[in-house]
Assembly symmetry: C2
Homo-oligomer: 337 residues x 2
């Protein structure tokens, strides 16, 4: 900028103001403005964002912290967030925590050290201390998909409880009474909500809840596989499986395949979370679709509004409706069960 200023024979402050669009506010003559812009364009000059950020204490950058980018739900979140953010001039620094608490911590401080303006976080859900610390340092932060009841932080999520309720009801009305629940990370908010919905559905139909029919500990394919195997190897095995995650449903399908069990003839299956290939699976999978794009748009919108107005949004929970997508993986149980 200094060189530019020298070339046009003006001071850097003039150049800065012109390039910052504040030329008129500071009564820079139209002639000077033109000259500045012309020479800037000629040299392909663009202002150094680093220096600008340092001075302005604002980086126009958002940290996005998610557990697994190769999970289709989160990759859709990431894509949508990146898109809405870029449109408003924000860049995204991406961190994948692999659902590991240590990585989450590291990534969080990496982001804060880089002075991101705000954070979009989908935390593991075990401890909330490091998130609380951010909250107390007044870092603009909105939680996505997962959160903690005890923290007054804005939060956007699908209606996990109702989604799971709907799915379970769907199974029950097809005649299923023994329904296994393949869970993800036990203490994570989506999981407890989905479990709540499942239990409410059971209760509404006066069906007993058997904790031993809740299996699993991670939102991963292998975990779904193991849990399904464990449930299905019992003599009085479930006639239906409710998978709390998309990958879990995939694992469950594989487990059925390996045990020579047909879906849906031997066991019905329903999976939380929708994906483009669900309809092409064998059989096409009945799923509970989450409005991933809407969630991402809302979360990033809340955050950017916050950053730009300076006012934190209402701290309430923002819940978006799910949608039961009927396909062929659910049918009434066989009679011999």
């Amino acid at each position: 900028m200094k060189d530019l200023a020298r070339e046009v024979g003006l001071s850097v402050s003039v150049v800065s103001r012109v390039l910052g669009g504040k030329g008129d506010d500071f009564r820079i003559s139209e002639q000077s403005q033109q000259r500045v812009r012309a020479t800037a364009a000629k040299h392909g000059f663009s202002v150094n964002q680093l220096a600008r950020s340092l001075r302005l204490q604002q980086t126009k950058t958002i940290g996005l912290l998610i557990p697994d980018i190769s999970n289709s739900f989160f990759s859709l979140i990431a894509r949508t967030v990146e898109k809405t953010a870029r449109r408003r001039g924000y860049a995204i620094i991406l961190c994948d925590t692999e659902d590991d608490e240590t990585i989450e911590q590291e990534a969080l401080s990496l982001l804060v050290d880089r002075a991101v303006d705000g954070l979009l976080v989908s935390p593991i859900g075990k401890g909330s201390d490091h998130i609380r610390a951010l909250y107390e340092r007044n870092v603009p932060l909105v939680l996505v998909d997962r959160f903690f009841d005890d923290l007054p932080i804005p939060y956007v999520t699908a209606n996990n409880e109702k989604g799971a309720y709907d799915g379970t009801i769907h199974l029950i009305t097809h005649g299923h009474r023994r329904i296994g629940f393949l869970q993800g990370i036990p203490d994570s908010k989506p999981n407890v909500e989905r479990l709540r919905g499942y239990r409410r559905a059971l209760a509404d139909h006066a069906l007993p809840f058997d904790p031993s029919w809740v299996r699993g500990s991670k939102f991963e394919e292998a975990d779904g596989y193991d849990s399904a195997q464990a449930l299905l190897k019992q003599t009085a095995r479930p006639t239906a499986l409710f998978a709390s995650s998309s990958l879990g449903a995939l694992g469950a399908m594989r487990a059925c395949l390996d045990r020579g069990l047909s879906v849906p003839d031997d066991v019905s299956l329903i999976g939380f979370d929708e994906y483009p290939y669900a309809r092409l699976l064998a059989p096409p999978l009945t799923t509970i679709a989450q409005p991933a794009q809407a969630i991402a748009e809302m979360a990033s919108g809340l955050l950017m509004d916050w950053l730009e107005t300076g006012n934190a949004p209402a701290m309430g929970v923002n819940v978006l409706d799910t949608n039961l997508v009927l396909r062929d993986s659910v049918k009434p149980p066989a009679n011999d069960h």
Copy 2:
């Protein structure tokens, strides 16, 4: 840092050197070092990376530019890149170009303005001018998956030609002679390479190449669907389809389903690129697996080595082998064809 220096009663230069790990090199007494570190820890102080970057002309940040993060191949790339980068202290700024040239340009300048240290780019492949501009400005840059022959830029990719050759040979040895090719972006490097492999396989078996059997223009599900529909509605329809992309294969499956055609009884199908659910599709899909993780590791490794040593890597093309994953979507053609 100034406050910290005042509190310990030393100068900022001392604090900077201690915190930068250069305390010993500058003969800062052990006692002072301890004091500095202790008070820094007490206040949870960490150096401002912005200021540091400005001074050092180095941001420890890599720009990752990919066409579609919700495509499983690229999401795996992104995940691996992020992981290997974080381990070496780099952050990733993610941009999703949606295979749109305008967005690609914008995103590229957004990244350069933010002074990323280097770029990992998977360009659209139509024009190479903006990439060339980066190259000429000496921006450390390695291309992933896609590239341009005319630019001496380091490049990492799967062996697309050989992978497609293997896949096509697989179809031919099963007796197929009329094999449709569902392509992605026509001028993109992976696509032309795959097409080359396909043609070489045909030529090796003295089969004619019919350009009208090459359809499609994007790496998208809908495009695969349309192309497959167009090919299959012909009277002398292909007995086998080679999909140049994973999403294209999905689209082709859907098209077959909609036309009441069985895969593989009526038409065999093979798809480039592997994904976790391919084995659970109806039917389990034979695919050509790309070593996505290895590609990502190699690309990011090359780039970071470059950044740290200052020496550009060999400009050659780095090709990693694909792997044909045999499943049930290919079988000999029915006789009536």
